[in-house]
Each structure stands twice: as C-alpha cells, then as structure tokens.
C-alpha cells in the first residue's frame, strides 16, 4: 500500500503545489525524504519556520504555488511574520503542519503547544483544519486550492492518528 506521505505529496501536487520548504519533525520524516528526492518540484529545507515562510513568500512572488511543511511547535515562532507577511500581503501559502501533542504523543512537553495550536491560528484568522484520519488525505491536498480562494495562509493540522502513528 502507498504510504500516507506519498499520498499526501501526490494530493498536494495534484492541486497545484509545486514549491516546498520544510523544517523537520519525526512525523514528517518520510515526507521530507520524498521532497528531497522529487525533481519535479522546487524544494528548500530551511533552518527555522519563519525563514520558510519568507522562502514560500518569495516563491509565490515568482509565480509558484508554495507549501510550508513543519511541526506545530513552529506555529509559536512564526506568528508575527504570519501577520505582517502572510496575512498583510494576502499570500496563499499552504502550511502542512504535523500536530505534536495530539493523542499518541509520547513527550509531555509537546502537549501545551499542541492544545494551543488551533486556537492560536483561529485567533489569527488563519483558516485551520484538523485531520486525524489518513483516509482524508485528498481533503488535505485541496487546501492548496483553498489557500488561493482564501488569499491567505491556510493550515492543515495533521494528528498522530492521521500519520497512522496514534
């Protein structure tokens, strides 16, 4: 059977995504391997999430359809730039975010930010959708188009259960 990461990348590309930036997470290991091996897309691994948002913004200005792949802990460090770049300039950047702290999380320190992630994005006015079932992978891919319609960053929060690691 095709892995969930393979399905997710295919779905994102089917919906137009052609440029990716990433910061690692244990849940994103397969996804990041796939990104690095895919010559049909632009891909820049970055050192920090905020930097990735900037790289995605530049790729959008260059005519690409960008996706930021990251862990939800980075939602805490990216807030100001999401406001003053992503929202202020109405940039359609799809954010594929692994949801640490969701059920299945083995590390207690991940739970507080896990709980805060969706409320924080809701407060910011960032359309945010939580997925806990890998069978919904096609819906995640459609968020690339939703970002274009919403004309702002959108977030997919992908639980341990989504990755089959609950």
């Amino acid at each position: 059977m095709t892995s969930i990461s393979t399905q997710l990348l295919a779905s994102l590309k089917d919906n137009g995504a052609d440029f990716f930036a990433s910061v690692p997470c244990k849940l994103l290991g397969d996804m990041i391997d796939l990104l690095g091996a895919d010559n049909s897309i632009g891909y820049v691994p970055v050192a920090r999430e905020e930097e990735g948002l900037g790289v995605c913004a530049g790729a959008y200005l260059g005519g690409k359809t960008p996706v930021m792949v990251m862990q939800n802990t980075g939602l805490g460090t990216i807030v100001t730039s999401l406001y003053s770049l992503g929202i202020f300039y109405n940039l359609p950047i799809t954010m594929i975010v692994s949801h640490r702290g969701s059920p299945g999380e083995p590390i207690g320190t991940q739970v507080p930010m896990g709980r805060a992630s969706k409320p924080l994005m809701d407060l910011m006015g960032i359309p945010t959708f939580n997925f806990s079932d890998g069978a919904e992978v096609a819906k995640v891919g459609r968020l690339v188009r939703h970002a274009q319609v919403a004309q702002r960053p959108v977030v997919a929060l992908l639980d341990f259960d989504f990755w089959g690691k609950g």
Partner: protein, 187 residues
C-alpha cells in the same frame, strides 16, 4: 562626507535599475529605495523583519532573473539560519546585499553586535557561501557590478555609517506592492 545607507543606496540604485529584482528590507531601507528610485522591480517589505534574505532566496529559486536581497546587519542577525540555507541551497542568480552600518537604523540607531565583535562576512563564509565580498560602502557599486556579471550565489557585506534621512512611510498598500512586483517578475 558622511556615507550612510542612504548614500550607498543612491549609488547602487542605478546599477540595479531595470535589470534586477530587488527585495527591499523593512523600514528605512524600503523607504529609501522608494524615494531614490521606485520601480516595479522593487518589492517593499512592510513587516517581517529578518526575512528579506529568505524572500529573495525563494524568489531566486523560481526565476532565471538576477535577484538582490537588500538586507541589514540587524535584520540578518535576527535570522542567522538564513546564511546556512544560502550556503547550501541558494541558486546562482542570488545576491545577498548586506548593508552593515552596525546599527538598528529604523529604531533609532541602537548598536548591533556587528559594531562589536561580530563579523558577518566570516559567518557567511563559514556557512559555505563560496563568494563573500566585504567592502567599504563606496566600493559597493563595483562589488555589485562584479556579482551581477558572475555566477553566484554571492554575499556582499557593505560597511557604512549609521544614520538615516527623515522620510515618510511608503504610500502603497501591500496588495499593490505584491501585484506590481509579481507582474515585474514575469515581464
């Protein structure tokens, strides 16, 4: 004569004009570039301090045109990881133009660490950037001309004095800046 970022940008603007896509750093650098020579090839950052280098890198990865990110010492110190990303992933058409005046100009010229012991050119070299050129501000035009005619990526560290003229905020809204620049990239 005092040679500040404003005088430096006055000198380099004709070299950039019409040939290069330029990401203009938040605050005074954007205001100064707007006042010196507003063109559709300029993208003005109105926020997101630290991300000029990153926006330019993402753009350079999507176009064959030359891309210059005008950045500052205070800004790049906020996003030092960007230099390691540039060292590993920046394409040949990318130039990071670091105006190093040793001060946080837009907030009142408080000193940055480059006015102390920090050496941005040495940091850039240590991240793996092959072409790092450190110049005094008056030599920046020549350095930029060289970098625009050779394979990069390049990092230029242009030293100058702190201080800024009194200018007004850019009267363009972010959507207008975005759309005009997007069109210029494709032109």
């Amino acid at each position: 004569m005092t040679y500040r970022r404003y005088e430096l940008l006055q000198d380099v603007a004709p070299v950039l004009d019409g040939k290069v896509l330029v990401i203009c750093n938040i605050g005074f650098p954007s205001q100064e570039m707007y006042a010196i020579n507003d063109t559709p090839n300029n993208f003005y950052m109105l926020g997101s301090m630290g991300l000029s280098s990153s926006i330019g890198l993402g753009l350079a990865a999507t176009t064959d045109k030359k891309v210059v990110s005008i950045d500052g010492d205070g800004s790049v110190l906020m996003n030092l990881g960007t230099l390691s990303t540039i060292g590993n992933y920046a394409p040949a058409n990318y130039i990071l133009f670091l105006v190093d005046n040793g001060a946080y100009g837009s907030t009142g010229d408080q000193p940055t660490h480059t006015s102390g012991s920090t050496d941005l050119a040495a940091i850039a070299r240590a991240t793996g950037v092959k072409s790092v050129i450190e110049v005094n501000g008056t030599e920046a035009v020549g350095a930029l001309e060289t970098c625009l005619t050779t394979e990069g990526p390049h990092v230029i560290v242009a030293k100058c004095e702190p201080g800024s003229p009194k200018l007004t905020p850019i009267p363009m809204d972010p959507g207008a800046i975005r759309d005009r620049f997007k069109a210029a990239v494709q032109a």
